[in-house]
């Protein structure tokens, strides 16, 4: 077994403190009875109680969750197809452009993606609202799904697929019986990432939304851009708790099933 050197231990500890301290501070302040950041008024859950009566906020949260469900599902479907196209279809015509369109959105500044999609929606004269944001989020998230699923498709043993086909399975049946079960953890990880990306997005949604489709990030942004608000501390703490529980549950699940989740996440980010 390797020994962890003091330098490495310090680097790890400092890194983790840096990553988690701000989140811890936010959660602690959400229980501050005082309205002012500078004054500690004792522990209280009054800001959480205030949220229950904020109908607009709850409305936005429901819109955001619906949006995330729709766009995560659509982008997982499209992203998985794109990953299959890139790994199983050899050198089809226009492959370079296709690969370019997969990788470019991963790093494209969101203001540009948002602006360009809005101009498209205006050009074809559709009413902006829930569905235009859903299309925008699907487009952005599918590329992340592709990268995750692709890394899994590249990793696994192709001879399994070949064996199935040699034994007379059709390509479709081979996919359903052999390939799909093997890439399922990556597909699940992709879906979760797409869900989180949609729930998180402010910029693209701001450009592509319309009346009646104010997402939670847009609502939070309009509340906090002029300063800290204790109610928002409470909303953010709830979101952190939900995401934290979901991700920890999912990574435990992935660990028990195949350990692919963490690897897929790591691969997703090159």
């Amino acid at each position: 077994m390797r020994k962890v050197s003091a330098f490495n231990l310090v680097a790890l500890a400092a890194g983790i403190v840096f990553l988690y301290l701000p989140i811890a501070v936010l959660v602690i302040y959400s229980f501050n009875a005082s309205r002012l950041v500078g004054v500690w008024g004792g522990w209280s859950t009054r800001w959480y109680a205030a949220l229950i009566n904020d109908a607009a906020l709850i409305d936005s949260a429901l819109i955001s969750i619906r949006l995330a469900l729709v766009s995560a599902s659509a982008s997982t479907l499209l992203g998985t197809l794109a990953a299959l196209a890139l790994t199983r279809f050899g050198r089809f015509r226009g492959r370079l452009l296709f690969a370019g369109m997969i990788y470019a959105p991963l790093v494209m500044p969101e203001v540009i993606t948002g602006l360009s999609l809005l101009l498209l929606f205006v050009a074809v004269a559709v009413d902006r609202g829930f569905w235009t944001v859903a299309v925008a989020h699907t487009t952005m998230a599918m590329c992340f799904v592709t990268v995750i699923v692709q890394s899994r498709l590249v990793d696994f043993d192709r001879s399994l697929e070949e064996a199935a086909m040699d034994l007379g399975a059709s390509p479709l049946w081979t996919f359903l019986a052999v390939t799909l079960p093997l890439i399922l953890p990556a597909i699940a990880a992709g879906w979760m990432l797409a869900f989180a990306l949609s729930l998180d997005d402010l910029v693209i949604a701001s450009f592509t939304t319309g009346p009646g489709a104010t997402t939670l990030p847009i609502r939070i942004y309009s509340e906090v851009r002029l300063g800290v608000k204790p109610e928002m501390n409470a909303v953010c703490s709830i979101m952190i708790a939900v995401v934290g529980v979901a991700v920890i549950a999912a990574s435990l699940l992935a660990k028990f099933s195949s350990g692919a989740g963490a690897a897929a996440r790591a691969n997703a980010d090159h």
Binding site: L12, G15, R88, F98, M108, E110, S116, V147, S251
Partner: protein, 303 residues
């Protein structure tokens, strides 16, 4: 077998569906931005001219093209505000990428050097904050950086400052926010490459009398170059166009380019100018983006 699958019409749908989607919602919107940048703003619905009128036949198309102009680009060149905004964005992105590398490398290195059974947990710990909303994480920093917030309380209590400084609405706050938000993007590619590294190479270097620090620079660092490059590009490119972080933490006197696009669009309602700023931004980023794509495709093949 590959060919057999590729030939069937239904099989090719696997390629065609995502391809068509990306053409319609990534490439074509881009061309529309390009067209918009050559248009003029107007008080109308939609708020720009010319609008392509296909009903008018060739005449309409000719009128459309003759009405396009480079005025917006002339404006970008003549108003120093835009140039300063671009320069500032590139400067902030370059410095924060450098700082991210200096902070991220030791963390990635440390994860890769711990016993293997720790790896999964440490990677999840690094990535976990990234799963919560960027907006929330930046908002957390707004709390911390308030004038009478926790950071200044600690600094004053330690006697490091006599008068609590203003952190919010400064470039320092923007840097803190960017480094905090992008750290996982730097650590993960570095970890992925460092983790695969063959440690016997370092042992060989040590056997040949190479000191540890020297061995790091002569062996480890060069071998991790592709991870460094991937991490740097993954951070640099989106940071240049970052909006949320400078908007909530930074000052408003010298905006980054993402803020400029946002203001042109939402504040001034000048869609053509916003498009022109966006087109120039893409031109600035096209080299690093192509470089990144090349790198990403190479890594995907090698895996």
């Amino acid at each position: 077998m590959k060919r057999q699958r590729g030939e069937s019409f239904w099989g090719m749908l696997v390629v065609r569906i995502p391809y068509a989607w990306l053409l319609a919602f990534f490439l074509i919107p881009f061309l529309i931005v390009l067209k918009m940048s050559l248009s003029q703003t107007a008080i109308a619905q939609p708020p720009y001219t010319p609008v392509l009128d296909l009903a008018a036949g060739w005449h309409g198309i000719a009128a459309f093209f003759s009405a396009l102009s480079f005025d917006n680009y002339v404006l970008l060149g003549s108003d120093p505000l835009y140039l300063l905004s671009y320069l500032k964005s590139v400067e902030i992105a370059a410095f924060s990428t450098l700082i991210l590398l200096l902070i991220g490398y030791p963390i990635a290195y440390a994860i890769a050097r711990t016993p293997r059974r720790w790896h999964a947990v440490l990677v999840v710990l690094t990535v976990l904050p990234f799963w919560t909303s960027l907006l929330i994480r930046i908002y957390a920093w707004m709390n911390i950086l308030e004038r009478d917030g926790p950071l200044n309380k600690v600094l004053v209590a330690l006697g490091l400052v006599s008068k609590p400084p203003a952190w919010l609405a400064t470039d320092t706050a923007t840097y803190i926010g960017i480094i905090y938000s992008y750290l996982p993007f730097m650590v993960l590619p570095l970890y992925a490459i460092l983790e695969k590294m063959d440690e016997t190479l370092l042992e060989a270097a040590a056997d040949l009398g190479c000191r540890r620090w020297r061995a790091f620079w002569r062996v480890t660092f060069p071998l991790s170059a592709s991870g460094v490059l991937a991490g740097a590009l993954l951070c640099f490119i989106p940071i240049v166009g970052e909006f949320v972080i400078p908007d909530l933490l930074g000052g408003s006197q010298s905006p980054m380019i993402g803020q400029t696009i946002w203001t042109e669009f939402f504040g001034n309602k000048d869609w053509p100018a916003a498009s022109a700023v966006a087109v120039v931004l893409v031109c600035v980023l096209v080299t690093p983006i192509l470089f990144y794509q090349h790198q990403a495709m190479r890594m995907a093949r090698r895996d």
